[in-house]
């Protein structure tokens, strides 16, 4: 549901019952006040002379008296100006005066008494009845059953509304009446019916009672709506802003105006958007560099693979022709296969290093075993190339805190480079030494070595962009750069220099892991 619709409905749902409740409470209060006024009026009139007049001539009592009977409280058989109809006794029987009391010698006319204030112009009437709900006055109106029931249960008064039918040119009237028990509780005037006959149509008046609260509620609803609609509009603007921003890949800002919670929400969207944007840019950057990397290296995977296929095909041809196996070809095929394996491992390592946020999985491990593994991995190729591959370990275990996969790859790369690009029939030595609190891994060969400017270039940070070009001819590109970066990530030192024995010497140096107790 839309926000505005929901708000409107909510307001209606609260305003309507609230208005009705107010009207009902008000109606009840005014009813009670009217009844009290009517009862007071009846008692007051009867006590200030009405009783005397009534008991003097109960068959004639009516207050105010009919105009046709001057001097009397009310002439019998007079015209009923209000069209109240002829008085009838209860049960349709004759209205008889019994138990008439002698006059008390007081002024039989009731004292003028202020009329209770009604909602509209009204006329008030009093009629007298005895305890049995009968009136001696034949003109007295018939008592309703519910009034009789109220008084019958011992109540001091009962009340209800009534309607006078349209009659002899007079419009339909409505009114309110109360049957009140008099303090004397006996005689023909023990009960008095007080009637308020509304002279005007009260429908409009009743309706009027609804108007004020309804108007109030309406004004409230409208005010709230008007106050809220700009808010709704801004929420909608914000939504469109966010949609625009998202559509533009979070390049466009939501740009909320103002200094309230809504604008803060907009700013929060902008902040989230720029975080997402940054994330996307990082991912795109990584994607680009990885793709470039894979493109560059695919070439190098294909190259040894092609050479390998060539060797295998030549070997197969010779074998089919029954010629002896060419050991050089076999060895070269082995080297290519070995290079491929190492290249793929290096690609994996490069991908891990490239993703900067991937932490190193540091574990304590034996550097002696690691060096042994790195050396033993190259023995086959070394033997094939006639390279004497030797290694030396200190007498004691050297433990180091490192990422096993990455650091082993780094050491393997150094050994592999020395074996592959050193002198054929030459030497490669791998030495693990302890120097104070440090370990030192030295890999040296007696190959042609690397020119000084080449050494400097290998240390460059941008090696990877050139890696594809440099890698295969010299073989030092990817393997050495990965070894270097692995060392940097571990906080180890990596150094390439010309070996005293000739050739290249690679040195790794880092702290020995403190002994665990």
């Amino acid at each position: 549901m839309r926000l505005a619709t929901r708000l409107g409905l909510t307001l209606l749902v609260t305003a309507v019952p609230l208005t009705l409740g107010l009207v009902i409470v008000r109606e009840r209060a005014s009813r009670t006040a009217e009844l009290d006024a009517l009862v007071d009026y009846a008692r007051g009139r009867m006590e200030s002379g009405g009783r005397d007049a009534c008991e003097e001539a109960p068959e004639d009592f009516q207050d105010p008296p009919r105009r046709t009977g001057p001097g009397r409280f009310g002439p019998p058989g007079g015209r009923d100006p209000l069209g109240l109809g002829p008085g009838r006794g209860l049960d349709g029987g004759p209205v008889g005066g019994n138990g008439a009391r002698p006059p008390r010698g007081r002024n039989p006319r009731p004292e003028p008494m202020p009329m209770p204030a009604g909602p509209v112009a009204s006329r008030f009437e009093l009629w007298a009845y005895n305890q049995d709900f009968r009136s001696d006055n034949p003109s007295a109106p018939l008592l309703d059953a519910d009034l009789r029931r109220d008084l019958g249960t011992g109540a001091e008064f009962g009340s209800n509304s009534f309607t006078l039918p349209e009659r002899s040119g007079l419009p339909m009237r409505s009114g309110f009446q109360a049957l009140v028990r008099m303090p004397w509780a006996e005689g023909p005037c023990a009960l008095v019916l007080a009637r308020r006959i509304d002279l005007a149509d009260t429908t409009a008046d009743r309706f009027g009672r609804f108007i004020a609260p309804a108007l109030l509620a309406g004004v409230l609803v409208l005010t709230t709506l008007f106050a809220f609609l700009p808010f709704v509009r801004r929420v909608r603007d914000l939504k469109h802003g966010v949609q625009r921003s998202a559509a533009s890949g979070y390049a466009e800002l939501v740009g909320a105006r103002g200094h309230d919670e809504l604008s803060e929400l907009g700013q929060a969207f902008d902040a989230a958007g720029s975080a997402v944007r940054g994330q996307i840019e990082r991912l795109e950057q990584r994607d680009r560099s990885l793709r470039a990397f894979v493109e560059n290296t695919t070439h190098d995977v294909m190259l040894p693979l092609t050479v390998l296929q060539g060797h295998l095909s030549a070997l197969e041809r010779r074998a089919s022709a029954g010629e002896p196996t060419d050991p050089v070809r076999v060895r070269e095929a082995q080297e290519e296969a070995h290079y491929l394996g190492a290249l793929l491992e290096n690609l994996g390592a490069a991908a891990r290093l490239e993703a900067d946020e991937v932490p190193l999985a540091l574990h304590r491990m034996s550097l002696n075993r690691l060096v042994e593994r790195a050396v033993s991995r190259q023995t086959t190729i070394a033997r094939g190339r006639g390279v004497e591959l030797v290694h030396a370990l200190p007498g004691e275990e050297v433990e180091v805190l490192a990422d096993v996969a990455l650091f082993e790859r780094a050491v393997s790369n150094l050994v592999q480079n020395a074996v592959r690009y050193g002198r054929e029939g030459g030497h490669v030595a791998v030495v693990l030494e302890i120097d104070g609190a440090d370990f030192v891994v030295r890999v040296l060969d007696d190959g042609p070595g690397v020119a000084d400017e080449e050494l400097a270039r290998l240390a460059e940070r941008s090696y990877r962009t050139e890696a594809a070009r440099r890698r295969h001819p010299t073989g030092t590109g990817l393997g050495l750069s990965i070894a270097k970066e692995v060392c940097e990530r571990h906080g180890f030192r990596f150094q390439l220099k010309r070996a005293e024995v000739g050739g290249l010497e690679a040195i790794l140096r880092g702290p020995i892991a403190p002994r665990a107790f």
Binding site: A337, H338, G341, E345, G348, A349, A361, H363, M365, R369, R373, S376, R377, T379, T380, E388, V390, H391, A392, L393, P394, G395, D403, V404, A405, L406, H427, V428, A429, V431, E433, L444, D446, A499, V501
Partner: protein, 224 residues
């Protein structure tokens, strides 16, 4: 009697190759193709276990865990994963060594043989290396049972090399640990001592080999 080796490897080609190379090296190998069967084996019947990690039936690490709880024969793990965590986990679970695929079969055989080689019960007072016998307590050296006279430095040098037979020992280590500290020992001084020692050892002097780029080692008599 050849050592019995249990190989658990699901790949047909690789498994066949490994068995072939082990057999060529004079080792007897039994080959299982799934981890579930491996879980139920009694490891005590073998001298060494070669275990692939990615196996049908049960993961290699689970097999390793089960075996390790039963005995402590050497376990060599084969892994195609570069994942450091898997290697570390395998080592933590008691694997003695691991090899990452791809590997050369002879590398595997060499590792297996290294694991099978029982450590020689080293006696602190007596070291024998081929024709050379060293009485550590008395600081006397015999070649083919004939005693030879050595200086203190020469004795320490020979003793240091004989303690780790066939292992190359770096010159720098020997300079630091063998040459007397009060004298300004250099690697050249060391070389002089070595050549004198070699002479004194006579026919056994050929066992004292030079290792390129490193230093020296006492070679095995078979001349490997």
């Amino acid at each position: 009697m050849s050592a019995r080796i249990l190989l658990v490897e699901d790949d047909e080609k690789l498994g066949r190759q490994i068995v072939e190379h082990l057999t060529e090296a004079g080792l007897e190998a039994q080959w299982l193709r799934d981890g579930g069967t491996a879980l139920g084996m009694t490891p005590q019947n073998w001298a060494l276990l070669i275990l692939d990690l990615m196996l049908p039936g049960a993961h290699g690490l689970d097999v390793l865990k089960r075996w390790r709880s039963q005995c402590d024969i050497p376990v060599l793990v084969l892994s195609a994963k570069q994942d450091a965590a898997v290697k570390v986990r395998a080592l933590e679970l008691g694997a003695d060594d691991y090899m990452t695929k791809p590997f050369w079969p002879e590398e595997l055989v060499a590792r297996v043989q290294a694991r099978l080689r029982r450590p020689v019960l080293a006696r602190a007072d007596r070291v024998d290396h081929g024709p050379i016998g060293i009485d550590v307590t008395a600081r006397r050296v015999f070649v083919a049972n004939a005693e030879i006279e050595l200086t203190k430095v020469e004795f320490d040098l020979l003793h240091a090399l004989a303690m780790r037979p066939d292992a190359a020992i770096a010159r720098s280590w020997l300079v630091q640990n063998v040459l007397p500290p009060e004298r300004d020992g250099t690697e050249r001084t060391l070389d002089v001592h070595v050549s004198r020692l070699r002479k004194k050892l006579g026919s056994a002097g050929a066992l004292l080999g030079t290792v390129w780029g490193i230093g020296y080692k006492l070679k095995r008599e078979d001349g490997a």
